[in-house]
Assembly symmetry: C2
């Protein structure tokens, strides 16, 4: 992961964030702003701004006379998209994927139920379109194309739920699906049963059948969890 060309701030932030979430700085360890400034060959100004952002993510704590100390994992803002990306790129991706998939299994069924009640005609159409796209790309090792439809599908469901907190999990789901496709030894083609379920969810939402939409989505989630058990024990 090269993090070049987006300004000094972003470069330092990404590198440090990645290192911290990867556990290179164990909990409680201390770094000093001057050191960092020297190591990256940037001014203290830049480092201070980076530290402030890491502090806002609760990754570190800055105290006078002490330095910048790394906080324990339990205090991190693990819902911050950047933290999620860093951790998925790091060493404990498996555990992270599992946590996030469990979260999905809780949220998405409820979101689908709400979507069945609140989805606009446009959203219903988009849902069907993406489901069909998944069908069309479900054979012949077209995982990349399939992934695009998969992500779009779940994003529409979350948005159509009408709940802001659900909608904002679209990025998380996208990261999870991407991580699953790229970094796990996924099967050559997606599970046909899952594809069918997506089509049926689109149907249920279109027909306003909240209970069925919720149940079907729960089945998708269970499938995803089982798949994780098989591929990443």
């Amino acid at each position: 992961m090269t993090t070049e060309g987006r300004g000094l701030h972003t470069r330092v932030l990404d590198t440090l964030g990645l290192a911290i979430t990867a556990g290179e700085y164990p909990q409680g360890s201390v770094v000093r702003t001057d050191e960092v400034a020297q190591r990256f060959d940037v001014s203290r100004t830049v480092v201070r701004e980076v530290v402030r952002v890491l502090e806002s993510m609760h990754l570190v704590e800055s105290r006078r006379r002490v330095g910048v100390t790394v906080r324990p994992t339990e205090e991190w803002n693990v819902y911050d998209p950047r933290v999620i990306r860093w951790r998925l790129a790091g060493s404990d991706r498996p555990r992270q994927l599992r946590s996030l998939t469990v979260l999905r299994s809780a949220v998405e069924p409820v979101a689908a139920g709400l979507a069945a009640r609140h989805a606009t005609p446009d959203q219903c159409a988009a849902l069907t379109e993406q489901a069909l796209g998944m069908v069309a790309t479900s054979r012949g090792r077209r995982l990349e194309e399939y992934l695009v439809h998969d992500i779009a599908f779940h994003r529409v469901v979350l948005n159509a739920s009408g709940n802001e907190m659900f909608a904002r999990l679209g990025d998380v789901v996208a990261e999870v699906l991407t991580g699953r496709t790229h970094h796990q030894v996924m099967f050559d083609d997606p599970d046909p049963a899952a594809v069918t379920l997506h089509v049926q969810v689109a149907e249920a939402v279109r027909e306003g059948d909240a209970v069925r939409a919720e149940e079907l989505t729960r089945e998708i989630a269970v499938g995803a969890l089982e798949e994780l058990d098989v591929l990443a024990p």
Copy 2:
């Protein structure tokens, strides 16, 4: 809400964050760092660090020659605890409380089910203790004491689930419960049915009955949603 005495950075950040989330700066509006520096009588350095943090929350976007522009609501990092607090303190608290309660209704039942499987003896004991505390304070207008036990109870459940993403929602739940107690015209005493349900959840978790724990927690959630419908239409 006076935000004094915690360093310049915190003061400016809180004030600006509160103002932005409250909608005082409409989406797309522009502020300039120099203006802010002058308004708060601080240096540009402080303002820049604040802007960087707001930027990391996706509340604003900073572009050269343009200024700091407020991003649309849909892009905010609404899971950031600070953003949640700002919004709960602001004008659209009702809508916010509803979003968060729906999120709870999706997450907590699943978390309770997992807790029934993974809870340690200590956690079971803590759960029972908090449930009993809720019973003890459920009559006689002791809402404040009740609230403490309620928060602790849900925190234990989320932690005992063993899922990091769930555990980190403890703060969110705490904010929701607190907001509900303090800012809504709550009944003089909590719903007796809800109190009983909490005791039963503690039982189910202790006995390792995942299905029952999940179902009971779902009933609690439904109750909370209905209460919201009654009190904040």
